[in-house]
């Protein structure tokens, strides 16, 4: 068992084959095979240090896989994988650490790394301000007066910051959205908003990778689940194959013994 459920004919949006990642003497990922198909939400579970964040950063091109591991985007092997390339192809991430620049106003954060330009090649600051104001009110439900695009991020609450990070990921019409512990430190209503957001990704026909410690958050929204343990894929499940109770059971077991069975 523990093979990705085959989807005949479908090409994964993103696929990692035999990917390992070593930092100095620490092997964070070893021989990972991982795929996300169009229109599916994949949950990534695992204890602290299992390699979830490293896997995400490898998918995003922030980390380069060790030699021998390959990244495929829609079936095409890509050698010069980088964050700019990944974002250019429509992969966006809401990072655990949020990846915001807190002394900067919202509009600079919203368009970080993908700044729009006018036809003269200059920064389109007006558009950045206006779009930020619109996005904040339309997508995150802030009233337009509540979050001004010129406010610096430092002054915002945790949920508002998360709102900026999520809205940013959404804005660029991503094929695949990765959410790395998006509910961490959020209030109950903010968490619900975030989970609704994940469901909306699926409704829009896009894919997502959802990482969270809380199985009660992950299980209801995902189609498929990867369980990582000590840098290895310990198991892959279709949601139909496993109940939440079974899953919790197996996660305890894997944490103690390193095997799922």
């Amino acid at each position: 068992m523990a093979e990705a459920s085959p989807r005949p004919g479908a090409t994964p949006v993103i696929e990692l084959r035999n990917v390992s990642k070593t930092f100095g003497e620490v092997r964070s990922l070893s021989d990972i095979n991982f795929a996300v198909y169009p229109g599916e939400i994949v949950g990534l579970l695992g204890d602290n240090g299992a390699g979830k964040s490293t896997l995400v950063k490898t998918v995003m091109g922030f980390h380069k896989p060790d030699p021998g591991g390959d990244v495929f985007f829609k079936g095409q092997k890509i050698d010069d994988w980088s964050v700019a390339r990944a974002r250019g192809l429509g992969i966006e991430t809401v990072y655990q650490e949020r990846a915001l620049c807190e002394k900067q106003p919202i509009w600079r954060n919203m368009f970080m790394g993908r700044e729009p330009r006018t036809k003269w090649g200059l920064l389109d600051v007006k558009k950045m301000r206006e779009e930020s104001a619109r996005l904040m009110s339309e997508h995150m439900g802030f009233t337009s007066a509540a979050v001004h695009p010129d406010n610096v991020v430092t002054t915002m609450s945790g949920g508002e910051k998360q709102g900026v990070a999520i809205t940013r990921a959404l804005y660029f019409d991503a094929q695949l959205v990765i959410l790395d512990e998006p509910t961490m430190g959020l209030s109950l209503t903010e968490t619900k908003k975030t989970l609704d957001f994940v469901s909306n990704i699926k409704k829009a026909g896009k894919s997502a990778i959802f990482i969270d410690h809380n199985i009660f958050h992950v299980y209801p929204v995902v189609d498929r689940l990867y369980v990582l343990d000590r840098g290895k894929v310990a198991g892959v499940y279709d949601k139909s194959q496993i109940s939440m109770e079974e899953l919790i059971d197996r996660l305890y077991r894997v944490a103690r013994t390193g095997t799922l069975e």
């Binding site: 922030f62 990944a86 949020r98 620049c101 970080m112 790394g113 700044e115 200059l122 920064l123």
Partner: protein, 335 residues
Amino acid sequence: MSEKPKNNRVAPPSFLRRYGSQLGIIGVGLVMWLGFVIAAPTVFMNTFIYVAFAQTTPQFGIIALALTFVVITGEIDLSFPSIMALGTAIFCLAVTHGVPWPIALLLGLATGAACGWINGFLVSWLNIPSLVITIGTSFLFRGIELVIMNGTGVPLTAEMYPGLHALLRESYFGIPVQTIWMIVLLGATWLLLNRTRFGAHVFLVGDNPTSARLMGINAVSVKTRAFMLTGVVGVFAGLMTSIYGYYFWPTTGDGFLLNTIASVFLGGTSVFGGTGSVIGSFVASYIIGAINAGIVSAGINAFYTQLCFGLVIVISVVLQTIIDRKIRRQSITGR
């Protein structure tokens, strides 16, 4: 905006909050100028003094504009005085070997870019603290310059280089060309910092390099380009300074380090990176230039210059910090 929200935290930032430190520095400048006018009205009601400091201030002021970029990325460049000298030395070597001056000028500026690239590469690619490595490269560049010039200077008179003097020393419409350059470069650096992707990335990399990299910004390239900008502008300033004195001294750049860095910090650019403004650096340069010219012209003993520098810089940086924290509603000590 139709109605103000009750909760003050979510209001748009006030004008004061957004431009507080820039207004502050302009205020300091005005107060100081009034002080000079009151202390020595005969000198400061005369245009001569203004011409004098409009000629000398841009010699370090234009470097302050470029250095602002490096400081916003969270780094510092202590080697620009040596780059000034090395680039100008390359220019002098080229013209004395019969190269036409415009080409020699390009060679000099290219030297500045190369020096800046070396600084940027060492700082950003090898992750060496800029405070440390640019002390090293400062000696290195100065050493190369002294060796290739054998410690000798080169005359640069108006008869020999009329074109260069027209470019860097004359006055137009009564305004010294140095200050015209300063204004042109203020416009150019303002656009570069506030209206290009490079400028946007300068702020982001200085604010949080990890976040910037996670969002696909090439921090190495951004920092390297900021150092290259300082190198190129540094050499231009080196030439401006040498043409002003009709002579290239191998010691060119000595005495520029603290004036320039003080201008950047006095202008409200944060030493922690992520915030700063070229307008602030521009105004602060003229404040520092005015102290210099003002004290000498007012007939005050030149020994007072440093005292006055010290007072203005310390008092205005302290005030800036306090005002900034007041606006942000933090305690005065920031703890």
